[in-house]
Each structure stands twice: as structure tokens, then as C-alpha cells.
């Protein structure tokens, strides 16, 4: 039987009369990466706050590593690492001081800040004050801070938002390394490509509800269409586009006809992206 690292059981939260999270239920297996996707205001951050013990659910339960978060908050928090979307580092302290502080808060006995900083590519700048770091460096330090206690569950909220490709790639590699170590990763992101690339499963959240939760491939098969797109040369000398749906009984016949009757210049397959599927399911884009 698969061991579950995270179980959300009808989690509910409302701010005054506004229902932010509406009885959501899901689970994340140990060692799995779950991509948690949704537009701003969908209820993602509130869900993460309930799962990490920052908010007490109005209804339902959050269970992490078999422990009810509300009743075992300190035990649960000693096993999780959280990387926030907004930079919340101590700016007047150095990277080493920031990490050492959190190592002491987590009661980590033998902690080497320098090796962790080297892992996130901050060697040579360890003793600089954080206020002198670039956005990418700060984000890498945020990720490093969430790893101080070698957590069993890692909550990452938009870890690559606004970063250059090199910094983003460095963080993605760290996420994969952590999964290899055995950590469960709860990844909140706007970046569908990133979610597709890293996540074992993705959840689509909108208006406080989870509308879909599955492997990216299954979602694409269920909600998207696969097609062949070909550019053919017309009699007038210009290029025209032909599209063939790959999921119909006539597919093979149509492909044969294409190559027999037309002068094919280029041809490639096309599948739906997670973003297409998200729009199809929710009726809105992630940035709306």
C-alpha cells in the first residue's frame, strides 16, 4: 500500500464570509511531486497555510505523515520545509547567519551552511548581507533555507517566479534532487511548463475547489486533443496548413491521403498543453 505523506480531508477555510477553500480533499504519496496550479485568489496559498499549520481549518483535517496538523503542529513543522513566494529573509543578516538561525530553530545538530549554500550556487557570497543579493540569489537562499532540516515534505510556493533561466534551472534541479532523496514535494506554481516537467501529478484549483487532479499525461489524454500539423505547398506556390486529429478512426486514412495528394513541406505532432487543459476546465487562464 502506498504511504501517504499529505492527506487533505475536506479542508475548508473562509475569511469572514468569503469561502477561500471549499472542502478540498486529496492526498500526496511519499516521494511524489504534486503540482498545485491555479490563478491568483484560487485558494492555493490558504490551502498551503492550512497544511503547514499557519491557519487552523474551519472544517476538515490536514494530515501530514500520519499526524493531524492542528493537534501536532510542532511535530509536523519539524518535518516540513517551506519556501514562500515572497522573499522573507533577514535582510541585515548574511546567508550563513540566516541558515544557522533556522538550523537552531529546527534543532539541527551538525549543520554546515557552507555546503548547503554551495549546493544552491551561492559559494563565495556566504557572508554577504542578504540585502546585497540579487532576486535570483535571494530565491536560491530561500530554497536553501527550506532544506536546512532535510525535511520529509517540502512546500515550494512559486520557487522560480521571476527568475532568469539559469536560476530557474538550478532550482528545478534541486527539486529533482530532493525527490531523489525521498522528499515529498508540494509545488505551487503558475508555470505550467514547469509543473508539467517536474510533477508526478497536478491539481487544478479554482475558486476554492479542486477541479482536476491527475498525472499530466492523463489530463492531456482526457481533456486535450493530439494532432498532426503539416505545412503543404499549394499550386500557387504558397504554404498552407493541414491539421489531422490523431484520435479518430479515420486518422490513418487521412495521413495516407495527405502524403498521397499533397506536397508535404514540414510535419509535426502537437499535443495539448496543461494551460490549454486548465482553460478548458476552468474557463479562465492562470493569469486572470
Amino acid at each position: 500500500m502506498v504511504e501517504q505523506a499529505i492527506i487533505a480531508d475536506k479542508l475548508t477555510y473562509s475569511y469572514n464570509n468569503l469561502l477561500a477553500v471549499d472542502h478540498i480533499s486529496f492526498h500526496v504519496a511519499k516521494g511524489e511531486i504534486l503540482g498545485f496550479l491555479g490563478p491568483n485568489g484560487a485558494g492555493k496559498t490558504t490551502s498551503v497555510k492550512m497544511l503547514t499549520g499557519q491557519l487552523k481549518p474551519k472544517d476538515g483535517k490536514a494530515i501530514l505523515l500520519g499526524l493531524d496538523v492542528a493537534e501536532n503542529i510542532e511535530r509536523v513543522q519539524s518535518e516540513i520545509g517551506v519556501c514562500f513566494e515572497e522573499t522573507n529573509l533577514y535582510q541585515r543578516m548574511s546567508a550563513v547567519e540566516n541558515l544557522n538561525l533556522f538550523a537552531r530553530l529546527f534543532n539541527v545538530k551538525s549543520f554546515n551552511a557552507y555546503s548547503l549554500l554551495a549546493r544552491v550556487g551561492l559559494s563565495g557570497r556566504e557572508k554577504d548581507r542578504v540585502e546585497n543579493y540579487s532576486k535570483g540569489m535571494k530565491q536560491r537562499l530561500m530554497v536553501a533555507r527550506s532544506l536546512v532540516s532535510k525535511p520529509q515534505i517540502l512546500f515550494l510556493d512559486e520557487p522560480t517566479a521571476g527568475l532568469d533561466p539559469t536560476s530557474s534551472e538550478a532550482i528545478r534541479n534541486i527539486i529533482l534532487e530532493e525527490r531523489k532523496r525521498g522528499a515529498t514535494i508540494f509545488l505551487t506554481t503558475h508555470d505550467m511548463m514547469e509543473a508539467d516537467k517536474l510533477s508526478d501529478r497536478v491539481a487544478f484549483m479554482n475558486q476554492g475547489k479542486i477541479l482536476a487532479l491527475d498525472k499530466p499525461l492523463n489530463l492531456k489524454q482526457k481533456y486535450g486533443k493530439r494532432a498532426l500539423k503539416a505545412k503543404v505547398a499549394s499550386n500557387k506556390g504558397s504554404l498552407e496548413i493541414r491539421e489531422i486529429n490523431l484520435d479518430t478512426p479515420q486518422t490513418a486514412e487521412e495521413i495516407q491521403k495527405l502524403f498521397h495528394n499533397e506536397k508535404v513541406v514540414t510535419i509535426h505532432s502537437e499535443e495539448a498543453t496543461l494551460e490549454d487543459i486548465f482553460i478548458k476546465i476552468t474557463g479562465r487562464g492562470l493569469t486572470e
Partner: protein, 352 residues
């Protein structure tokens, strides 16, 4: 309670506090400035009252009055010269006696005596001089008042042992010094909320109780160390040091509680300072009452610093002991509990 966690948080807060250039500077300059102010203030009180006198014939009774403690007459050779001296504020008061004063007194007449006062002579001086002249007339004629006047001194008799202005001011200086730390602490907390670092702390195994304990230790110790250092240097711990230190510690806790309340209202360093200055102005009122006796009425008892002020003033300036100030200590403790509890509740609410 996890002492390792508390120690780490306190160390972090001290680091952040002293790396904020403004508060680091205020802390260091504050103590230096207040010490300088204290030491440049006069350390002695001149209890002699100097009075100018123009009298062509000085009645013998003046010799007697001059022997009284605290009165010193400076004779002038003309009314004009005496008027000039008073106008120039060489003396605060002057007395002109008529040439035939002895004859007039002997014949039972009322001799005209002119008194001069400088423009800023306080009412007490006017009363003293008028009383002295009447006393002189009675002594000279041998007709004493037909009543038996008895005087009683309430409280410690400070005749010859007046409190120098700098020792009255010492109280104000030490309270101002530790009150500034209240703003520093409030700013530090509101900065944690504003920058979101508090959220990072709240997802660690650290408990909220550890967090507030650390803030309380940091705020109170910073204020207490400064207050104790200042009082040591200015000689404020020469009498009953244990009471003064306990008073300072309670005061530091009180200001820390107030710092929590300010932090719950403030959004950043600027608003922390705004609320902090408002609190300082209110909290300083009882100390003004010590510097300028009679300016503060009973309503000041509703201000928590009244009891801190009273403890330090009574002990360091008036040699009071435990029996005189135990009630003030008790009330101060009650205020501390209310302020710290209220502050923690208010910040907790803000965090939620």
C-alpha cells in the same frame, strides 16, 4: 519552553537591532547625550536668598534677621542703585526702608516700606520677603502676634538638603533612555511582520510562546542594561540599589509590553516611531511632575510610569525604603502584566 530556540531568537534580534544604523546610533548616542546633560547640570542647590537693601539707618533687628539661615542682605547706597540692581536681576528682591523708620515705629505709626521684585521673581520669593519685613516690624516694636503659630514639615525636611535639579532630571533622563528602546523593539517586530520573516519563523517547530519570550527578553534586557548603566554612572544606585534595579527591570518590562502594543498598531518603522513618540509623551508626564513639583495632579496615577517614577524618585532622591514603595512596586507589576498580556494578544491578532 525551548531555551535553545529562545537564545537563537534573542541573538538574532540583537543582531538586527544593532545593524539598524538608526537604532544603533540612538542607543549609543542616547546614553552619551543623557550622561552629558546630567553632568553639565548644577549638582548643588543654592539655598541662600540674596536681598538688596537700601536703608539710611539700619534697624538693629536686621542684624538678628541676617543671622537666620538662608538670608543675605546686600546694602546699596541709594534707592536708584537698588532699583537698577533689581532691574538687572542681580537680586530677585529688594527692600527700601525710610530714613525715619525707627521714629515711626516708636511712635506707633506705620512706616512705608517699599519692596522691589525682579520681573521673574517667583511668588514664593515675594511671600518670603513680605513675611520677613512683617517679622522685622514685630521684632522691632516688641508686639508679637497674639496667636500661637506652629509649623509642621510634612515629608522629609529638605532644608539644607535640597535635591539638585540634575538629580530631579536624572529620573526623566533614565526613563527617556529606556523608553526609546520601546520604539526600537516595536520597529523590529513590525519589520518582521512587514517583511514576512515572522511567517518563516511560524512554520518552524518554534512555539509562539518561545517567540514572545525571546522578544520580551530582548526588549527588557536592552532597556534594563542601558538604564542600569546610566544610573550606575550618575550615582543613582548609591542608595538602595536593589530597589532601583527592580524598579528599572519592571519599567523595562512595562516598556516592552507597550512596544508590543505599538508593534500591533504600526506598519513600519515610521509608524512605529509615530506611535512610540505619542506613548513617550504620555509616559514622560509623571517624570515632569518630579522635575517641576506641583505641575502634575492626581490623574497622573493612571499613567503606568507614575509608579516607576515614584519608586526611583522616592528611593534615589528621598532615601525611601521597601516599606514606602512596596505598593508602587505591586501596582507597577499589575500594569506590567496587563501591558505585556495585552501586547501579546494584539500582536497575535495581527499575525492571524
Amino acid at each position: 519552553m525551548n531555551f535553545g530556540v529562545i537564545r537563537a531568537l534573542v541573538a538574532k534580534d540583537f543582531t538586527l537591532f544593532f545593524r539598524n544604523r538608526f537604532y544603533a546610533l540612538i542607543t549609543i548616542l542616547g546614553i552619551i547625550t543623557y550622561l552629558v546633560i546630567y553632568f553639565v547640570m548644577p549638582s548643588l542647590v543654592n539655598e541662600e536668598l540674596e536681598i538688596g537693601l537700601y536703608a539710611p539707618i539700619i534697624p538693629p533687628v536686621f542684624e538678628l534677621i541676617q543671622q537666620e539661615e538662608g538670608l543675605e542682605f546686600h546694602e546699596y547706597n541709594s534707592d536708584q542703585n537698588l532699583r537698577q540692581a533689581i532691574t538687572d536681576r542681580v537680586h530677585e528682591a529688594g527692600v527700601v526702608l525710610p530714613e525715619d523708620i525707627m521714629e515711626q515705629l516708636a511712635s506707633g505709626q506705620t512706616p512705608p516700606v517699599t519692596l522691589y521684585f525682579s520681573i521673574d521673581a517667583p511668588d514664593e520669593i515675594k511671600d518670603i520677603v513680605e513675611t520677613m519685613v512683617k517679622e522685622m516690624a514685630y521684632l522691632q516694636t516688641g508686639q508679637f502676634l497674639a496667636i500661637d503659630i506652629s509649623a509642621e514639615i510634612l515629608g522629609p525636611d529638605l532644608l539644607g538638603d535640597q535635591i539638585p535639579i540634575r538629580d530631579r532630571m536624572r529620573l526623566m533622563l533614565v526613563i527617556m533612555l529606556i523608553m526609546f528602546e520601546m520604539m526600537g523593539l516595536a520597529s523590529l517586530i513590525s519589520e518582521e511582520v512587514e517583511q514576512g520573516t515572522i511567517r518563516a519563523l511560524l512554520v518552524t517547530p518554534m512555539s509562539v510562546r518561545d517567540l514572545f519570550t525571546a522578544k520580551l527578553i530582548m526588549g527588557a534586557s536592552l532597556a534594563f542594561i542601558q538604564g542600569a548603566l546610566f544610573m550606575t554612572i550618575v550615582g543613582g544606585l548609591n542608595i538602595q540599589p536593589s530597589i532601583i534595579l527592580i524598579g528599572l527591570l519592571l519599567g523595562s518590562i512595562m516598556f516592552t509590553g507597550t512596544g508590543f502594543l505599538i508593534a500591533s498598531l504600526a506598519k513600519d518603522m515610521l509608524t512605529s516611531m509615530g506611535w512610540g513618540i505619542t506613548a513617550i509623551l504620555i509616559y514622560a508626564i509623571p517624570a515632569f511632575g518630579v522635575m517641576f513639583p506641583g505641575t502634575v495632579t492626581d490623574w497622573a496615577r493612571f499613567i503606568p510610569t507614575y509608579y516607576l517614577t515614584n519608586i526611583i524618585h522616592q528611593v534615589s532622591n528621598l532615601n525611601a525604603g521597601w516599606s514606602e514603595i512596596w505598593l508602587d512596586l505591586l501596582i507597577l507589576m499589575v500594569f506590567n502584566i496587563l501591558l505585556v498580556w495585552g501586547g501579546i494578544m494584539a500582536i497575535g491578532r495581527k499575525l492571524r
